[in-house]
Symmetry: C2
Subunit: 354 residues, 2 copies
């Protein structure tokens, strides 16, 4: 494997000294970039995911255009349920649809056990190709949805306001929910291990719907599976990042789940979270994605607030508190990256010498 | 005014001794009740709001059918923007639509100052009529949306996933946002004062979209207006309840906003919140509304958990952590009320003697 030239992201994940705070942006390979839309015009979303050359190209775009310190493989969290046999449709602006959602034992039986090396070979090929084309410029992040978030999509079948179907399932048939969650945990473990094997330098688990659960339900239906996954992933030094969006509670338990980095949404105070759990884990985040609608002055001010709240020393990866919005001006994303690179140096004087 | 026979809700709001925990349910006058749907078949939603006889009838239904300890006037938070001149359409299942949302100074200029006694007379008439028909059985709650939540609807114009328009507004034109928020705060103050004058025994401010804001933005664009409203409402002993959904931070500031009761969503640990701010305010909540999809055993278990977390003594109003879902079996709502009434007595032995 090539030595990585800019490894500042990986060092921050491990809380090793850095000379400035690294930054990447969730959904950085996406619709806000005209260069992405040009490719998207030629191929639909799933074709892009399944064509390693196209996936590699859009994965690398933000490294060139925005200047981020890490690439994240272009893909979708729903490739796992699709590989398990669920027919997936993607509608621009309307979100994903499974026409036959999982509602009972029979539906669940139809889900097949996956072997990522075969069933998700196209993702692994995209990782290898991207890794090669990146040529060590920045690290490459692989990712997966969490079992809970995947289950939510698989049971709801489409966008949901109240998540009635998946909530009904966990309250009325928790053993079925747990049986599918276990199978998903195995699939996620194997998939992330295979991505690392294929060249990913770090992996992130997205738990977009963690925040719809009460505190006990989060532990029972999401966090315990994250712990299993993190302890079973085959990895050497590759960090694991976990993003439990909307989870503002049980921070100490979160910090002991095994992930190296906890990613925070924009409703959290990253300074206070660091006080509580910053000795155990690195933190990622957490600018409100909508701040990128603002002018440069406001972007600079808000970026500085977050850098200041985290304060001195390593262990912070700058990011948004959720994915970049599709109608953001790419110039503003580029400016945010520039500002974080320029302004964060002063927080790392000490750790540099350390 | 009639003396209220069952005033346990009001006593709990004031943290006075109670013999058991009171309960009501957000959106208790709603679609889950066949008796409500029977009336809704004859009149559309806004007609129901605007016809005091119909509004009174559905307001009282859950007192008879479910056995709750308070009635809440059937209405909608968007009657304020409608009275300010915005044409409102309600689509069953799709949510409200304003075809001409507020996006700039010109749009904002078109909003007229309202006089609730004239422009929202139908709501006040519904309050008076309901009060009369309730005949002192239980207290009647009046309500309003918060300025921030109203602004969100007025600027987005329809359901939103990312709240891009209102976020753009606050970041790019904060002075326009503040000018509309001030006007809304005045309208809310006058409206809630008029509701109390018309007979409401308590008022609740719904801040459904508080949780989409970062911590500083919540203070700047929502909480400061709540403080203004609460300090300016004309009231005698009528409690004010505030429900900032999704707000898990700045609890001490929240507890000093002037509201007597803070209502919590289901992601909060009501026991921990009580430890922090329970001396200053009463707390309302906070069962996950989806628990009502479960069987009786689970409903009882979860209700008991919340009662146990709050613990001994007055100052707890049992409720869901958000509105009751439209496809819940009314029998389960009735069972929840029964369980809370039966199980909560043991937490009030001491306060009864107090």
């Amino acid at each position: 494997m090539n030595k990585i030239k800019n490894d500042i992201f990986l060092r921050a994940c491990r809380k090793q000294p850095v000379e400035r705070t690294p930054i990447w942006i969730m959904r950085q390979a996406g619709r806000y970039l005209p260069e992405y839309r040009a490719i998207r015009q030629k191929a639909d979303f799933l074709t892009m995911c399944k064509t390693p050359e196209l996936a590699a190209e859009v994965t690398i775009q933000p490294v060139d255009i925005i200047g981020v310190d890490a690439a994240i493989i272009f893909s979708d969290i729903l490739v796992i349920p699709e590989a398990m046999g669920m027919k997936l449709e993607m509608h621009e602006g309307k979100g994903p649809i499974f026409h036959k959602p999982i509602r009972n034992e029979n539906d669940a039986k139809s889900l097949k056990k996956i072997d990522p090396a075969k069933d998700l070979k196209y993702v692994l090929d995209a990782v290898s190709l991207t890794k090669k084309e990146l040529n060590g410029r920045v690290p490459l992040i692989g990712f997966s949805g969490s079992p809970w978030t995947l289950l939510t999509y698989m049971v709801e079948g489409k966008g949901s306001k109240n998540f009635s179907s998946v909530k009904s399932l966990i309250y009325n048939n928790p053993s079925l929910a747990h049986s599918v969650l276990s199978r998903l945990a195995d699939a996620v473990t194997d998939f992330l291990s295979a991505k690392i094997e294929a060249g990913a330098d770090a992996v992130q688990i997205f738990d977009t719907w963690a925040g719809i659960l009460s505190q006990n339900d989060f532990e029972e239906f999401s966090l315990q599976y994250i712990e299993m996954i993190v302890s079973n992933i085959k990895r050497k030094k590759e960090p694991v990042l976990y993003f439990p969006k909307g989870v503002h509670f049980k921070l100490r338990k979160l910090s002991r789940c095994g992930a190296d980095v906890i990613s925070l949404d924009w409703t959290m105070n990253i300074g206070k979270v660091r006080e509580k759990i910053g000795k155990t884990v690195a933190l990622q985040g957490n600018l409100d994605p909508a701040v990128l609608y603002a002018g440069k002055e406001k972007i600079k001010e808000e970026a500085n607030k977050i850098l200041g709240l985290y304060g001195e020393g390593s262990g912070h990866i700058f990011n948004l508190g959720h994915g970049i919005l599709p109608d953001v001006d790419p110039e503003n994303a580029r400016y945010l990256v520039k500002v974080v690179k320029e302004e964060s140096g002063k927080y790392h004087k000490q750790s540099e010498k350390a």
